[in-house]
Amino acid sequence: MALHDMEDFTFDGTKRLSVNYVKGILQPTDTCDIWDKIWNFQAKPDDLLISTYPKAGTTWTQEIVELIQNEGDVEKSKRAPTHQRFPFLEMKIPSLGSGLEQAHAMPSPRILKTHLPFHLLPPSLLEKNCKIIYVARNPKDNMVSYYHFQRMNKALPAPGTWEEYFETFLAGKVCWGSWHEHVKGWWEAKDKHRILYLFYEDMKKNPKHEIQKLAEFIGKKLDDKVLDKIVHYTSFDVMKQNPMANYSSIPAEIMDHSISPFMRKGAVGDWKKHFTVAQNERFDEDYKKKMTDTRLTFHFQF
């Protein structure tokens, strides 16, 4: 789709945004068009960045982090929907606006969001020594979640059949690139910068412990009562019903929750109901090759 067409683009429930490559990473075309601005984003020292591969617990972490900062004040988190509270740096979607503009207009301290691989992170965030929280999710559940997300989200390419998407994901030909490269890139960076590297599966298994870890990293001392409150309000069932966190305020032409809800399962091991035995064998073989150069490990089930 040509640039001038993009300016007039309106979602009608059938059309989807086009995508292109930035430094070898697939992105919505609008993001590609403003890449220089994204790369030159000016961070502030008190910015807090939440980084994830798509569908690895981003919204969940955003909600937890804000509740930690507000010491469990739930009402403050209900002031606006997720996409308005946390500027998504590289996002530029017709009718939803630009993450950069949102960030510029937001008073400090800002909680920012990105899905960018580490090597494409705007350098200012590292230069200003910003605190960064990275959440990684096991690739099998991540793939399933991303597949359903692409089905319902018209701002991303149509995923095709599950069989087709399986191959697309393995090849890393999805927006924000290869899962393997993403998690490894951030893992290698974690000891050189102020990065707290968390795992989705740990957050599911022991949310209180992981929230405590987040609070310490952010620099907040929270008592047990507040921690328990945050655990409750950020549980999957509560967040799924929370209109300020479940993306139900996004127009249906962009996100069609009747195809698949934004908050679908939030479980560990749901991949087993999607992967065939043959796909699982193929995935494991591929995973072994691509993850041979790292000590990073994941839990695929409890």
């Binding site: 599950w162 069989e163 087993k272 109901k273 999607h274 065939t276 035995v277």
Partner: protein
């Protein structure tokens, strides 16, 4: 995409109503009122019986058996209607009366469990070849078969069908009991117990076993020619244009079973086959 198990609809009632129970075994409707006559069916010493649970490679086995016993050419088999030559005992066509009158040596097929076969067979009065197939490939094949049959009109999901299989709720009853019952009789002098996977893995040995069992004497050259002919049949079966690609392939189930279904299946398999020393190749 592999369907989510939560989305599995219940099986249509019409599908359910097509079966009837006989001594605790679910049988197809055409068996109704026939079971006593089947039990008393007169068997001849020259008969060769091919017994399988449905979708265990019956068609392929019948052609191989025909080839070995008659010394026929595979091209000839392709030209004749082999199903007419090898009737299924319990099917409505051609029917018991006609099968009784067939000239010897008769080749007769059945899917009935061992205990429901003619009692003369239990007494060792004629040769019985039983073939078992690994249950994962079998259930995939059985599902595809049910989907294609207008009479069965099965419209449930594979998950639902597989659950029925694990719960012994399909035509001809429990696969687990079916194979174990025959396995217990594998040492009977009139029984030859074969496995479908061996046809793909070691056809030479299987042809030798069949020739020996059927009393067909042949030298090495004849045996090689027979095996080559049988190889052609196996290849044809797995690559027939009119059929889903690779439908006779061993390990077909891996493309259909989700990991979750496979785990459940393995649990049921272990539970129901626990004390039995019969093993299967699930892939080659």
């Amino acid at each position: 995409m592999a369907e989510s198990e939560a989305e599995t609809p219940s099986t249509p009632g019409e599908f359910e109503s097509k079966y009837f129970e006989f001594h605790g075994v679910r049988l197809p409707p055409f068996c109704r009122g026939k079971m006593e006559e089947i039990a008393n069916f007169p068997v001849r010493p020259s008969d060769v019986w091919i017994v399988t649970y449905p979708k265990s490679g019956t068609s392929l086995l019948q052609e191989v058996v025909y080839l070995v016993s008659q010394g026929a050419d595979p091209d000839e088999i392709g030209l004749m209607n082999i199903d007419e030559q090898l009737p299924v005992l319990e099917y409505p066509q051609p029917g018991l009366d006609i099968i009784k009158e067939l000239t010897s040596p008769r080749l007769i097929k059945s899917h009935l469990p061992y205990r429901f076969l003619p009692s003369d067979l239990h007494n060792g009065d004629s040769k019985v070849i039983y073939m078992a197939r690994n249950p994962k490939d079998l259930v995939v094949s059985y599902y595809q078969f049910h989907r294609s049959l207008r009479t069965m009109s099965y419209r449930g999901t594979f998950q639902e069908f597989c659950r029925r299989f694990m719960n012994d709720k399909l035509g001809y009853g429990s696969w687990f009991e079916h194979v174990q019952e025959f396995w217990e009789h594998r040492m009977d002098s009139n029984v030859l117990f074969l496995k479908y996977e061996d046809m793909h893995r070691d056809l030479v040995t299987m042809v030798e076993q069949l020739a020996r069992f059927l009393g067909v004497s042949c030298d090495k050259a004849q045996l090689e020619a027979l095996t080559e002919h049988c190889h052609q049949l196996v290849d044809q079966c797995c690559n027939a244009e009119a059929l889903p690609v690779g439908r006779g392939r061993v390990g077909l189930w891996k493309d259909i079973f989700t990991v979750s279904m496979n785990e459940k299946f393995d649990l049921v398999y272990k539970q129901k086959m626990g004390k039995c020393d019969l093993t299967f190749d699930f892939y080659l």
